[in-house]
């Protein structure tokens, strides 16, 4: 009985861990994409300011 419990617990923990890792990577990718978009937007603003100043 303890072997059965151990086997199913280990499988459940491993799969839960994999799913949690997917969530964490998803969140990190979203954060990095948002940071890239912000950098791009400010670069565009600076470029437009420079063009109007010239």
């Amino acid at each position: 009985m303890s072997a059965l419990f151990a086997a199913y617990t280990i499988v459940a923990c491993a799969i839960t861990g994999y799913i949690l890792r997917l969530h964490v990577v998803d969140r990190e990718l979203r954060r990095r994409a948002a940071a890239l978009a912000t950098t791009h937007a400010s670069a565009m603003r600076v470029s437009s300011d420079l063009r109007s100043a010239a």
Binding site: L4, A7, Y8, V11, Y18, L22, L36
Partner: protein, 224 residues
């Protein structure tokens, strides 16, 4: 409804369906399947052991297939599929070894024996470890994909050996034990359920790798 919201809804529906399927599998394994007379309760390990072994072998074959496609077409999407399948295959092969070891302790009285099926599965798992190490240590995406594809194809050569080990060599591992129809049905449900959950998770991971490539970012998974 925009594309992002539609994709989120699709993913939520597939998550709920996967959860329901896993719940049905557990009900079938612990309540529907009859108790085996010789080994008793511990025999129920078989339902998860065979399912994860199947997913591990399939993961290895998909990795090799996607690697071969990459070598033929030089399309990085094939390499992303290979990586996603390899990560999941590695986890499933590891779980096969662990659940098999727990079952062997009860059935044979030993945690491990260098028996043909166990040894060939262990070799496959070490090849998968090597595959992931190769990927983690090469920076150029196309060089990484090329080297990894060769490792994956070499690794897949071990899959027929794992499958046929009980027929080709003499060992302790049972070949194809006779089972009651209910046991067979529960085993089929378990294998199908695990395969669908695996397909969902591998597809999701491939999506992450695709997004990461589009953004030109390093794999955030390497940071964890």
């Amino acid at each position: 409804m925009d594309t992002c919201t539609a994709s989120f809804h699709r993913r939520s529906i597939s998550d709920v369906m996967c959860a329901l399927l896993v719940a049905a599998m557990f009900v079938a394994i612990f309540w529907l399947a009859p108790e085996e007379q010789t080994m008793g309760e511990v025999q129920r390990i078989m339902y998860v052991h065979i399912a994860v072994a199947w997913c591990g072998l399939l993961g290895s074959l998909i990795t090799a297939g996607a690697g071969l496609l990459y070598l033929l077409r030089r399309n990085i999407v094939c390499d992303q599929w290979a990586q996603a399948a390899a990560e999941w295959g590695w986890l499933c092969c590891g779980l096969t070894l662990v659940t098999g070891s727990l079952w062997a302790r009860e059935a044979w009285g030993v945690w491990w024996t260098w028996e043909p099926r166990l040894t060939s599965m262990f070799i496959l798992w070490t090849i998968q470890c090597g595959y992931l190490l190769v990927r983690a240590n090469l920076d150029d995406p196309h060089r990484r994909a090329r080297v990894a594809a060769v490792v994956a194809i070499l690794g897949a050569l071990d899959v027929p050996l794992v499958v046929m080990a009980t027929r080709w060599f003499r060992g302790m591992h049972p070949e194809a034990p006779t089972m009651e129809p209910t046991m067979r049905a529960v085993l089929a449900l378990s294998v199908i359920g695990f395969s669908l959950v695996s397909a969902g998770l591998v597809t999701r991971r491939r999506g992450q790798l695709g997004r990461q490539h589009q953004l030109g970012l390093a794999d955030p998974a390497h940071s964890y």
